[in-house]
């Protein structure tokens, strides 16, 4: 049974679409991401998301949430992507909060307090300079100490990590052959050095280095030293699928904007939209959107039903979405001609948003390789010492 029925989903869809169309869009996105301040997104928007109940969509009831599935959140992400919203919704809700919900002990669920209210932003640092898209390559070490662990290592650039109050950080427990755990690390922890930077589309994130960051024993999510790579893999699949929804929103708008532009732009005494070669291009863009939506729907259904092929369907969805995004984004710019190259016009920002989305959590080729290879990565559990004095 889905947590939300069809009518409730439509309500989320309608209110989110209306909100982002009214309050957001490329101009607002640009103003926020280019702002010289440390955030690069809208705190006021974040507050509104909280008031509308969106930040709690997937959270447990105990954390003030409404226990929806990824489908409900994806409806929101697609609307946000359609207007280039710059807030770190996916890193916070799917990855950060998702990690705590999935792995946290009862006591650790307290880390979710304040998320639904928009008072606390969670983040996620897993990929590393040496990992590429591989999800089972972790070099960061959590060395057991008297009171807990000391984390040391480097983490790759990750959207939203610059602004997170609390981050779930992966590390191998005990040494390079230890099991991988996820640790809750406050954003202002001593020894955590974040290097903020914009992504290609202007949304902000950070790379990070950890130099002996001290955390208490209860910072280890789940409380035991079981290897969590499989859980991390599933979390990233969910974030990847959420990103597909964001990209579908952006892709659909990019195709619409381009179609509208060709209906008004005249060259050689006629509308560009009257040339058959360009009509067919617009049609192909639209078809990409349709098949992307279908692939995402299929993957969301599998995910929220806990179907055995949920991971496979998520990989397929990312493949289809990334390929469609490359075509739609590229042709969106191409068909706008020189105008498409300008920072002033929206279409270029959609192109960049789609490029970043393609790369997040693995591109089409990587996912195809993954499907070809078969088994989910990181199944090997490893033994590790218990933290000293835990």
């Amino acid at each position: 049974m889905p947590a939300f029925d069809a009518e409730e989903r439509k309500l989320i869809h309608d209110s989110a679409t209306e909100f982002f169309a009214d309050r957001y869009g490329p101009e607002r996105s640009l103003a926020l991401t280019r702002d010289a301040g440390p955030d690069g997104f809208g705190r006021a928007e974040w507050k509104s998301y909280a008031e509308l109940g969106w930040l709690g969509l997937m959270l447990p009831e105990a954390a003030g949430g409404s226990e929806g599935g990824l489908t409900e959140a994806a409806i929101l992400f697609a609307a946000a992507g359609g207007q280039l919203a710059a807030e770190p919704l996916i890193p916070c809700l799917v990855l950060g909060a998702g990690a705590v919900t999935a792995l946290g002990t009862e006591a650790q669920q307290g880390a979710l307090d304040g998320v639904a209210e928009g008072e606390k932003i969670l983040g996620f640092l897993h990929y590393e300079p040496g990992s590429g898209y591989a999800r089972d390559h972790v070099e960061t070490i959590a060395r057991p100490t008297a009171g807990g662990y000391a984390l040391t290592g480097d983490k790759a650039f990750s959207l939203g990590a610059h602004a997170a109050d609390l981050l779930a950080v992966s590390a191998r427990i005990g040494g390079p052959d230890g099991p991988v755990g996820l640790f809750l690390v406050p954003g202002d922890a001593a020894g955590l050095h974040r290097v903020p930077a914009p992504a290609m589309d202007g949304r902000r994130g950070a790379a990070a280095s950890l130099d002996g960051v001290q955390v208490a024993a209860d910072a280890l999510l789940g409380g035991t030293t079981d290897d969590r790579l499989a859980a991390i893999d599933r979390l990233i699949d969910r974030a990847s699928l959420a990103t597909c929804a964001d990209m579908l929103g952006a892709m659909t708008r990019a195709a619409e904007i381009t179609t509208d532009y060709l209906k008004t732009r005249e060259q050689f005494g006629q509308k560009l939209a009257s040339f058959q070669v360009l009509q067919h291009r617009l049609v192909d863009m639209r078809i990409c959107c349709e098949e992307t939506r279908a692939a995402i729907h299929a993957a969301l259904n599998a995910e929220d039903a806990g179907a055995p092929d949920a991971a496979l369907m998520a990989w397929r969805a990312k493949t289809v979405t990334a390929q469609g995004a490359r075509f739609v984004g590229g042709q969106g710019v191409q068909l706008h001609g020189g105008m498409g190259m300008t920072d002033d016009l929206g279409i270029g920002h959609y192109y960049k948003r789609l490029s970043v989305g393609e790369a997040m959590f693995g591109d089409a080729d990587w996912h195809l390789d993954r499907i070809a290879a078969g088994a989910p990565a990181g199944e090997t559990a490893r033994a590790a010492p218990e933290p000293v004095g835990a």
Partner: protein
């Protein structure tokens, strides 16, 4: 046409190639090299110094006939020269003077115009820019609306140009203007040379996807241009423009750059690890590199064939433009795919020489991503891929 004969390799061309290579090595100082390696924006003074050094060798206009002060290079020699300077990552051989307006002036200009303008082009004392496109006239260039009205010894120019590369550096602009609004599209156009310091000209930056400032809008408000700056005959400007566009289309491919991109890509693959192993060991990327190299080799062969024809035919010029721009984007996309492994951070500020912030990801990533974004226009500028296909369809296939 079936097989005729491929152009044989010329040993003399090889020694010419070595000479240019040695010159680039000697002339690009450490400061400029650092900027090139980081893919940063090259400041105007360094760019200017480089072009002047080429000018002193006569190489800037080596492709001009000797009677115009050139070295009378063959098309093959010119190609080798561009190949080598582009391949060294040297500052862009801005074509506006030496390849565009220069040949127009020495072909259609008066003796006074030649004397006045050609020396400054040969030694790069004067920076030129091109005033062709307008907001309403992109692919359909002949629909341009900027007006020039004769008033005594002057033309009074009003209107707007767009996509004007380096207008913010230029001393002069060559413009297509409408002198007869009643004539059929192509027939009322004239070709004017305009001093950028003339009152009434405003240059406004156009920031592109890479967040760089390469392009501009140029506004003309009652700009008075002496009639002696008209090239050739009034209302014949379209003929000169067509002559010039033919020059541009063979030249836009910038094949020399592609070798450079490919070595950057190889380095990036060596430096980027996936699951702890360098991506250069990944069979899929090895295959992609080989495919890109094969496409480049074929493009070079097409180019050589086109040069061997003397004046390149319609199909070769348009096909070179299409395939060249597609390959350029494919290589840059592959580099971007690699940088996806680093999260696709893009620090555009790092492209300013002297930036000393903290880098995220590989050192060259900002330069590569800027180039990737900037070259999305490669299939748009100089006649879009769609227009090139129209040229072949109409001009060569009789469709």
């Amino acid at each position: 046409m079936f097989i005729t004969a491929a152009a044989p390799r010329d040993p003399e061309l090889e020694s010419f190639r070595q000479e240019i290579r040695a010159f680039c090595k000697a002339e690009i100082g450490p400061e400029l090299q650092k900027i090139i390696d980081a893919g940063q924006h090259i400041p105007k003074d360094m760019h200017d110094a480089w072009l002047k050094a080429l000018g002193r060798k006569g190489w800037l206009t080596g492709h001009w006939a000797k009677e115009h002060g050139g070295l009378g290079w063959t098309a093959e020699q010119s190609a080798v020269f561009r190949d080598e300077t582009d391949g060294a990552g040297a500052p862009w051989l801005t074509p506006f003077g030496v390849t565009m307006v220069g040949p127009v002036i020495y072909t259609f200009g008066t003796p006074e115009q030649k004397e006045r303008h050609l020396p400054g082009i040969r030694n790069n004392d004067v920076w030129w820019c091109q005033g062709y496109s307008e907001p309403g006239s992109g692919s359909d260039l002949a629909s341009l609306k900027t007006r020039a009205v004769r008033d005594g010894d002057h033309y009074v120019v009003n209107g707007q140009k767009i996509w004007t590369t380096l207008a913010h550096w230029a001393d002069w602009i060559f413009c297509l203007v409408r002198t007869d609004p009643d004539a059929k599209k192509q027939q009322g156009i004239s070709f004017l040379l305009i001093d950028m310091k003339t009152p009434g000209i405003t240059v406004r930056p156009l920031i592109t996807l890479d967040l760089g400032h390469h392009l501009n809008e140029v506004f003309f408000e009652d700009v008075r241009v002496p009639v002696e700056n008209l090239i050739g005959e009034e209302n014949k400007g379209w003929d000169y423009a067509k002559f010039l566009l033919a020059h541009e289309r063979v030249g836009v491919a910038e094949i020399g750059k592609f070798n450079r991109y490919l070595s950057q890509l190889r380095k990036l693959l060596d430096d980027t690890r996936e699951g702890g192993r360098p991506l250069s060991q990944d069979p899929a990327f090895r295959r992609r590199i080989v495919e890109l190299e094969t496409r480049l080799s074929t493009l070079k062969a097409m180019h050589a064939d086109a040069l061997a024809q003397g004046t390149p035919g319609l199909i070769s010029a348009a096909a070179l433009k299409i395939r060249g721009s597609e390959l350029q984007q494919a290589i840059l996309q592959t580099m971007t795919d690699v940088l996806g492994r680093h999260g696709l951070a893009y620090q555009a500020d790092a492209l300013m020489a002297g930036w000393n912030g903290e880098l995220v990801g590989p050192q060259e990533s900002a330069g590569i991503l800027a180039e990737h974004l900037h070259r999305r226009a490669a299939t748009i500028y100089g006649g879009s891929s769609e227009i090139q296909r129209n040229i072949i369809a109409k001009g060569a296939l009789g469709l």
